[in-house]
């Protein structure tokens, strides 16, 4: 059984009189210890998907359909108290911006000790000792002295290390990391990614990694799901996605990316993503797709299998399609 099994998830977001259908019929699963990359551009719904899983939607947000099975239990049906016991305990979180996800008025040691006391029932002294160990483990120099520092006294990279220490303090089954390195410089990014991989291997945590960076996804994910306009449009093992992509948006993203060893002209994807508040017919990518045919504009393609475990939402690359 998969550790996390998201089935037909749909999430809406009411903003200023409009309803944005941010997540539309999203299904994916993650096995224990596995890393799944949820990849896509801004506004594609990847963050809303993760927030739906954790039931941490912003005001106006609501899950309108679907199931989120975590260890076989539907999180969407749990009472809030039970959900609180899962967050920070069974599911850990690392968000993009460590300067806003840490509480600025409490010392980091206290923030680190909180889940240990709450979820693991450690006493004050034991929690503090464990917190020092954790800070040391995530590479904070002189951890005992740093315990009483406030978040503003740390650099961005150090704050993200603290976030990781908090997220993994209770050895969660699942870590949700939403753009964990986007706010950081590239050398610090490399340190943080290495740390996440190392620690999750130790705790056996599975990872749902949300990123817009295909390079990062290539480096650390076992499987990848590409999102576009609220839907997963392709999913499969990392190699399948990079070497035999089966959805024009996926290879469009890869072609648009400047790489260090090629001089060729970039091939951008024409146009921009659709407005998710407006009704959409057919394949959401059809207006930008160079291989579009009439059927695409009318009929939204289902996710169908290409090779084992490799699925794509595309008429053109389906067995009876016009791309081979």
């Amino acid at each position: 059984m998969a550790l996390l099994d998201v089935r037909n998830l749909a999430t809406e977001l009411a903003t200023g009189g409009e309803t944005v259908r941010a997540v539309r019929d999203v299904s994916f699963s993650i096995d224990a210890g596995q890393t799944l990359g949820l990849v896509g551009e801004s506004g594609c719904g990847k963050t809303m998907t993760a927030r739906s899983v954790a039931r941490l939607l912003p005001p106006g947000g609501r899950v309108s359909a679907g199931q989120v099975l975590f260890d076989g239990v539907d999180l969407l049906g749990l009472p809030e108290a039970a959900m609180r016991d899962i967050r920070g305990h069974r599911i850990g979180f690392v968000f993009q911006d460590p300067s806003t996800s840490l509480n600025p008025v409490y010392p980091i040691g206290m923030q680190l000790a909180e889940p240990l006391r709450l979820h693991l029932g450690l006493g004050r002294r034991a929690a503090r000792d464990r917190a020092v160990e954790l800070l040391d483990r995530v590479g904070i120099p002189s951890p005992a002295r740093r315990m009483d520092d406030y978040p503003h006294q740390l650099s961005g990279g150090m704050r993200q290390r603290v976030m990781i220490a908090i997220a993994l303090s209770c050895a969660p089954r699942l870590l949700i990391a939403d753009e964990p390195t986007t706010a950081l410089d590239v050398t610090i990014q490399a340190q943080i990614l290495e740390l996440i991989q190392e620690l999750c291997a130790e705790t056996g945590s599975a990872v749902l990694l949300i990123t817009h960076n295909l390079g990062i996804a290539a480096g650390i994910c076992d499987r990848i799901a590409v999102m576009y306009a609220g839907q997963i449009v392709e999913t499969g093992p990392t190699d399948a996605l990079f070497y035999t992509p089966a959805m024009p948006y996926s290879w469009g993203l890869l072609d648009a990316l400047p790489t260090v060893d090629e001089e060729e002209r970039l091939v951008p994807i024409a146009g921009g993503p659709p407005d998710l508040a407006a009704p959409l017919a057919g394949c959401h990518f059809a207006p930008r797709c160079p291989h579009v045919r009439e059927v695409c504009r009318v009929d939204g393609p289902p996710m169908t299998e290409r090779t084992a475990g490799h699925l794509a939402r595309c008429h053109a690359t389906a067995p009876e399609g016009w791309l081979r």
Binding site: Q189, A190, Q191, A218, T244, T259, D261
Partner: protein, 357 residues
Amino acid sequence: MNPLVEIENLRVTFRTGAALPGQRTATLTAVDGVSLTIPAGATLGLVGESGSGKSTLGLALLRLVPATGTVRLAGREVFRLPRSELRRLRGEAQIVFQDPYGSLNPRQRLGAILAEPLAVHGSVPRRQRADRVRELLDLVGLRAEHATRYPHQLSGGQRQRVAIARALAVNPSFLVLDEPVSALDVSIQAQVLNLLTDLRERLGLTYLFVGHDLAVVRHVSDRIAVMYLGRIVEEAPARTLLTAGAHPYTRGLVSALPVPDPETERLRRRITLTGDLPSPITPPPGCRFHPRCWLYEQLGRPERCRVSPPELREVTPDQRAACHFTDEVAASPLGRVTATATRARRIPVPVEGASGA
């Protein structure tokens, strides 16, 4: 080729602190003795981490922050121009900023945004301005009817096109591009990068392209300069810098860059630079990079690195680096892009005669 831009010993300092009574002030040297040249028609890429001084350098070239040293633009000394001549300088050198949301006036229509530099510089008579605005919109791939829109009605990529059009309104020969695509999504980023490449060809422009993503910077640049704590640590042709960087920091940057190729990611050995960028207020003595340097550790922490700051010197006739141990760097296989393509990507192609439902 003649250099269009010559920078000699550029220095920019800021006073920090003293925002609160009793706080001590300190001097932060953001750009510390930088010398670079950019040939006419070429693009120099400038990379570094946040706080390295790369954006400040761009601003200083246009006299947008106080600086010392010499900057010559088409032979004229920028810092010696009387105030009255500054407008002429702005006519020759313009800047495009990172954030197209913050750099366009939300209350102005695009037509007004683009007409303003024409009016300020008096370069185009009033009656012809509407034509010129249309021409500019066309130049950056927008339609004439966009002139009546407001910035919030545009996507990020379109806004950045407007910012580029505005910079081009006065027919400059030199553009400072300060992280012009960093705020954009991948598919849009490629559109803007291609636009910048085309404009350079068509209008014979010269660019300073400031960025933090080596893959992006490499794509548009002829040469790349790497900045660390206010100093240039290496400067070389773009390709050389990535395949045979002569400074340990350059190698570290190349190594830290995620590559969108699973096989490469699996096979490569990485250098992970430890620690954070030190404070530019109290830079480390000797070589500023030594506390994070992998080679310094590998060589058993030689005293020289801690004591004497390395000069930027020629390593090969085309490559300059500021490191005492460039031979040792050259011998290391780490942090180089190797051209050996691993697995090729197979993209589906149209099949003859397929009806496609």
